[in-house]
Each structure stands twice: as structure tokens, then as C-alpha cells.
Amino acid sequence: MGVNEKFNPIRKGLLEFLVLKIIAADKVYAADILRQLRETEFATQEGTLYPLLSKMRREKLLDYEWKESEAGPPRKYYELTAKGREQLRETTEYWQKISGTVKDLGRAPAA
């Protein structure tokens, strides 16, 4: 089992956090989110993203509105709700704590 596979559950768990971050930056539609993730370690497919978005909407973390697009049918543009922003803040804090722990643990103890 390579490192890549070992981190699967972690990547999976972090996906929601990243989606929150992406949506917080700007109003986006699903293909935007996929494009932003594509170049990263978190490359995701529609089959995973759509159920996740609908779950997050059900948890009232985000909401969407229909907008006409220049080409093709109207699209769903997602934005964060107040609860979603709150969750993003909490998650960011927690993430900083975790990455701090990962960095510091196992170093020579301060004498």
C-alpha cells in the first residue's frame, strides 16, 4: 500500500473543507470547483462531488441559485451560508492546530 492510498481517507475527509474554501472565495458552479481541484492532490470526479454538494446543502452549509450562462442551460451557482462560513472558520482553526502538531511532534524535546 503506497503513501497515496494510505492518505485516501484523509483526502476524503478534507474534501469538504476544501470545497468550503473554494466556495468562500467566490460564487462558483460545480465545474469551477472540479477545475480548481484538478491540478491538486484532491482531483475529484463529478460522481463524488455532486453527492457531497447536496449533502452540504442539506446540512445548510451552502446554498445555490440558478443563473443563466452565455452558452448552454442555466447553472447552479453555489455560495456559503452563515453556518457554512462559521464551519469554515472552525475547520481552518482546527486544521492549523493539526498541522502544528504534525510539525512539532517527534522533535527533540525542548530542554
Binding site: 485516501n8 483526502r11 476524503k12 484532491f42 482531483a43 470526479q45 460522481g47 449533502k55 442539506r58
Partner: protein, 405 residues
């Protein structure tokens, strides 16, 4: 030249090659099944259809108005398997690189459009052990739970079912690429199409009811079409069965079937009726012994203090133990089978109730064993929990051996 099917996705019409249509149908059916129980199921499916429509639009041009099968395979591949985010315990990685997944079917696409086949696969999603029952259920379009119950029942009446399970577990492939997945879900798709056409034809028939000639014409055509579909379904089933048989012959020689050589002297039936429950009891006790032996092996890596040969992996020791148990129980089994065979030939009559008693005694012993273990061996529970890991280890080892030959 290939047949084209026209579909509509979120209000836009597309023309797909027939093989591509089947793959897409299977993908969407699979998605719907995976999202069963999700309150937003319809909405997610709508989003997915929208995304597929966008991707189809991207491959079409002014002079290209049909989406070919290979393109559909590619699109399904890009979409990735639909996973219910709300459902916990899914094994599939969320961030699986799409590039890695795309490598598989690309080779298949070069060999022409994916053939319209249905194959038997292990399906790990929602599997209890290795997904064999799950795969069988999907293959035959039955609820996997029903298949599992059948397997358990079969094990009670015919212990070899476990062996059958293990053999299937080893020879059945796991669908890796979307094309293979579509093949795994192939038969329900074909069957559903059959039902859909039948229903459509039926409504048309209702409409022509008043007009006698039109109705007769409809009936002739309807019958003809249904027959065609029936043949097709049958032919596919036959082909799959042939393939399975071929695979079987490649892997194993069929066991030689010998009739029981020893026949019991035709004794007075009452002797048999009296001894039969004792034999059942002996078998039951043996089962209890076997159960404890397995638990002992899993918990302490020794069988009642006797260690397996040094350097032997746990799974091999487990297999060895099972073989030894089978050999010990062999005479009892032969005795029973010979009797049953003799009774079946009409030599004497055994009231069915005795077979019932026989089974009840066996089940009772098994239940007793489990109860005892729960009561007196605290860490047996942990060992039982570790069993699936040992199982998987065993499968991996056999697979490696098979691949390394």
C-alpha cells in the same frame, strides 16, 4: 455501421451508439441504486445528467452528431463512480486520480466499442465478506440479501457451499474500470430495456384496440419484437454460461464423480432411525470442536497448545486445520450420505422428520458453541473480529501466488 439510440438529458436530445447507450444506462442505474435512500437522489441524478449532457455536447460538432460508444466510456470514466457522501464506510477513494482510472478502458476502447456483455463480478460496495453474493445478486437481478440467505441455508444442508464461496471469491474479478462496472450491472439494464419495450408496446396495443386490422398488425409486430428481445437475452445468458464454463475448465479439472462404492447392508429401519440422531450428535460435537479449534488458532496462533509448523502463515494454518477437520468428519459424512443414498433408492423409508431432527441437533450444537464462547472466552470475540482481516490476507496471498506462477 452501428445502430443509434436517441435519448434526452435534461431537455436536450442526443444520439448515442447503442453500446454507448447501454453503458450509460448501466451507469445511471448504478448511480440511482447507490443513492437509494438519499433524500436528494433525484436532484443529484439531475446534476449528473446535466454534466453528462455538457460532456456530450463537447464531443459533438457541426458534422458529428452521434456520440460513439468509446466517447461514452470516456465520459463515464471522467464522471467517476457515484458515491453517496452521506453513506459512511465507502471504500472507494475520493481523490482517485482520474488519469489512473482512464488507463483501463482506453485499451478496451481501442479494440472497438465495448461488447454488450454482462459478466459476473465481485462487487465490493455494500459487501459483507468479499462481494460474491452481492455480485451474484446484481448479476441475476435479485436482492443480494436473498442470495446471502440462500448461501447460508445451502451451507447448512451442504457444507461445500463455503468452498464454493471461496472458489468464487478467488476466480471472480473485481470490476475496476467503468466499462467493467457497466458489464457487471449489464443484465438488469438489458432486462429493464426488455420490460420498458414490452410496456410501450402494450400501451400502443391498447390504443389500437378499436381498430381490428391495426390491432392485428400490432400484435404481430409486438410478438415479433418481443421474441427478438427474448432470444437476445437468452443468447447472452448462454454465452455467459459458456464463458464461465470455459473459465472453469481452464482453471480446474472437474472433479471425478464417483457413485458411493460402499452400500450399507439393508438393515431393519429402526436401527437406522435410532443411530441417526447419535451420528448427528457426533457431527455436532465435532463442529463444536472445530469451532473451538479455529477460535484457538485465531486467538493464540496454536490449536489447543499445538503450534503449526514454524514459518507457516496464519491463513495457511487455518486452511490446514479445515482440511484436517474435513478428514476427521469424513467417515460420519460418508455414513450419512450412504444412508441417504440408500433411502433415496427406496431400500427403506426414512421419515423426513428425522432429517429435521438431524439438522436441529447440528444447529443446536453450533449455537451452544457460540454461546459457550461468548460466555467463557473473553478474547474470542476479538479473534472473531479479526477474522475478516485474516480472510483478506488469505485471498491476497492466493492471488499473489496465482499471478506469480
Amino acid at each position: 455501421m452501428n445502430k443509434v439510440v436517441t435519448i434526452h438529458l435534461r431537455g436536450a436530445a442526443f444520439q448515442l451508439e447503442e453500446a454507448g447507450y447501454d453503458a450509460l444506462r448501466a451507469y445511471l442505474d448504478g448511480a440511482a441504486r447507490r443513492l437509494e435512500g438519499n433524500p436528494d437522489k433525484d436532484e443529484i441524478i439531475a446534476d449528473i445528467e446535466q454534466a453528462i449532457a455538457d460532456k456530450c455536447r463537447a464531443v459533438l460538432g457541426a458534422y458529428k452528431n452521434v456520440v460513439v460508444a468509446a466517447e461514452i466510456t470516456q465520459i463515464i470514466d471522467e464522471m467517476g463512480p457515484v458515491q453517496d457522501a452521506a453513506a459512511e464506510g465507502e471504500e472507494r477513494p475520493a481523490g482517485a486520480a482520474p488519469g489512473a482510472a482512464a488507463a483501463g478502458p482506453a485499451t478496451g476502447a481501442e479494440a472497438g466499442p465495448p461488447p454488450r456483455v454482462r459478466r459476473l463480478y465481485k462487487i465490493r460496495e455494500g459487501a459483507m465478506v468479499a462481494g460474491v453474493c452481492n455480485g451474484l445478486g446484481v448479476y441475476f437481478g435479485i436482492d443480494p440479501t436473498l442470495v446471502r440467505i440462500l448461501f447460508v441455508l445451502l451451507t447448512f444442508f451442504w457444507g461445500l457451499a463455503i468452498l464454493l464461496y471461496i472458489v468464487l471469491m478467488i476466480i471472480l474479478p473485481t470490476p475496476e474500470t467503468p466499462a467493467e462496472k457497466a458489464a457487471a450491472y449489464g443484465i438488469p439494464a438489458t432486462a429493464q430495456e426488455f420490460i420498458r419495450r414490452a410496456r410501450e408496446g402494450y400501451y400502443e396495443g391498447m390504443r389500437t384496440w378499436g381498430n381490428r386490422r391495426a390491432h392485428r398488425e400490432w400484435r404481430r409486430r409486438f410478438k415479433h419484437e418481443m421474441k427478438g428481445w427474448g432470444y437476445r437475452l437468452k443468447r447472452e445468458m448462454q454465452e455467459t454460461a459458456d464463458r464461465a464454463q470455459q473459465q472453469w475448465h481452464q482453471h480446474w479439472q472437474p472433479p471425478a464423480c464417483t457413485p458411493p462404492a460402499w452400500t450399507p447392508p439393508p438393515g431393519p429401519p429402526f436401527l437406522l432411525l435410532i443411530t441417526l440422531p447419535f451420528v448427528a450428535l457426533a457431527r455436532g460435537l465435532l463442529a463444536v470442536f472445530a469451532f473451538f479449534a479455529v477460535i484457538s488458532l485465531l486467538a493464540t496462533h496454536t490449536v489447543f497448545g499445538v503450534a503449526p509448523p514454524a514459518g507457516m502463515p496464519l491463513w495457511a494454518a487455518l486452511v490446514l486445520l479445515l482440511i484436517v477437520i474435513t478428514i476427521i468428519s469424513w467417515p460420519l459424512k460418508v455414513l450419512r450420505h450412504a444412508w441417504a443414498w440408500h433411502a433415496g433408492r427406496g431400500a427403506y423409508y426414512v421419515p423426513p422428520v428425522f432429517w429435521f431432527v438431524d439438522t436441529v441437533v447440528a444447529i443446536g450444537c453450533a449455537v451452544l458453541a457460540i454461546w459457550c464462547i461468548n460466555r467463557y472466552v473473553p478474547h474470542a470475540h476479538e479473534a472473531l473480529q479479526a477474522a475478516p482481516a485474516v480472510f483478506h490476507q488469505m485471498i491476497d496471498a492466493v492471488k499473489q501466488w496465482w499471478a506469480g506462477r
